[in-house]
Symmetry: C2
């Protein structure tokens, strides 16, 4: 009955998932690791890796696809507990912390922004949706402008993190995020 089979052959799917798992482990270890190294660890050729994930960002996004889910719940909780602008600020900090523990994610977001692909890919997309939600709440409350593109905010967030994402730059990052959030408020 020609089942509704997946577009991927079984071995391809297996390799793909094994690559993601291996990459997740490698990234989590904190060590810098080459893509070829990940392929080797996963026991596949580098050609296989690049066929599944043409760019480094594609792989990174897949690795963190599941891990980012909780951040959306965080956003909802923050919106319930605080004023929207403050919730946005707090969520950005959460995201900074989340990203700080995950090698490569900021660089990937920056690369996607720079090539106009922000919002493509699981992580980007989630971030964009969260920002949309919070910005909208802020606009309704009159605390944030209503003419802001979430993509712009996401791009700024990613770029600022790329520059000051290290734990020892927390204070600087805090000041920079304050500037950004204040810039989203309506002019008086």
């Amino acid at each position: 009955m020609t089942a509704p089979r997946s577009a991927l052959r079984a071995d391809a799917r297996r390799n793909r998932e094994h690559l993601i798992a291996t990459a997740a482990e490698a990234f989590a270890s904190g060590q810098a690791i080459s893509l070829d190294g990940i392929a080797k660890r996963a026991g596949v050729g580098s050609g296989t890796l690049y066929r599944h994930f043409p760019t480094r960002e594609d792989l990174v996004e897949e690795v963190y696809r599941d891990q980012i889910r909780p951040l959306r719940d965080d956003a909802r909780a923050l919106l319930d507990a605080e004023q929207p602008a403050e919730a946005l600020h707090a969520w950005m900090h959460r995201f900074a912390e989340w990203a700080g523990e995950r090698r490569g994610i900021c660089e990937a977001l920056v690369a996607m922004s720079a090539s106009g692909r922000f919002g493509t890919g699981p992580v980007c997309d989630e971030v964009q949706q969260v920002l949309s939600m919070v910005l909208e709440a802020g606009a309704e409350a009159g605390e944030l402008r209503d003419d802001i593109d979430p993509v712009d905010v996401g791009s700024i967030l990613a770029s600022v993190l790329a520059v000051a994402g290290a734990p020892e730059q927390r204070a600087q990052l805090d000041r920079m995020l304050t500037i950004v959030v204040d810039g989203l408020r309506p002019r008086c």
Copy 2:
């Protein structure tokens, strides 16, 4: 009498300057060019290049050391002609244009910010000084906050340019810079 020797041997100085000139030419051509390629073009070994400029940023900063001077005059002119906040916004656009024509400068500024060296090196330093001047004028006029660290603003500027510095992203960059400048105004 152990003469007041220059720190550099004459041939070393010559090579250094020749490398800068060659790099300036190569960068100006718009082509992507490898550091090894620059060394080859300059007719020196790559070892010589790396001895003079341990990192790519060191070379980039030297190449643009003279070219950035006019931007300071621009800042003064803008301050004379407009309100400080508007002058800041306009100057950032000038800088974006300036940087857009010069390969590698944004990446270098980002790298220096990320490693806490913003303000080191000729270009960084000039940017920081200009920002100081404009921020101070804005604070006096009451148009900008008086508690802003120029390094933070420079870092944001560099990071935003790294993400949206391409000519075809002008519109997005414009929106992002507006957010940043607005974030520097006092809360009402």
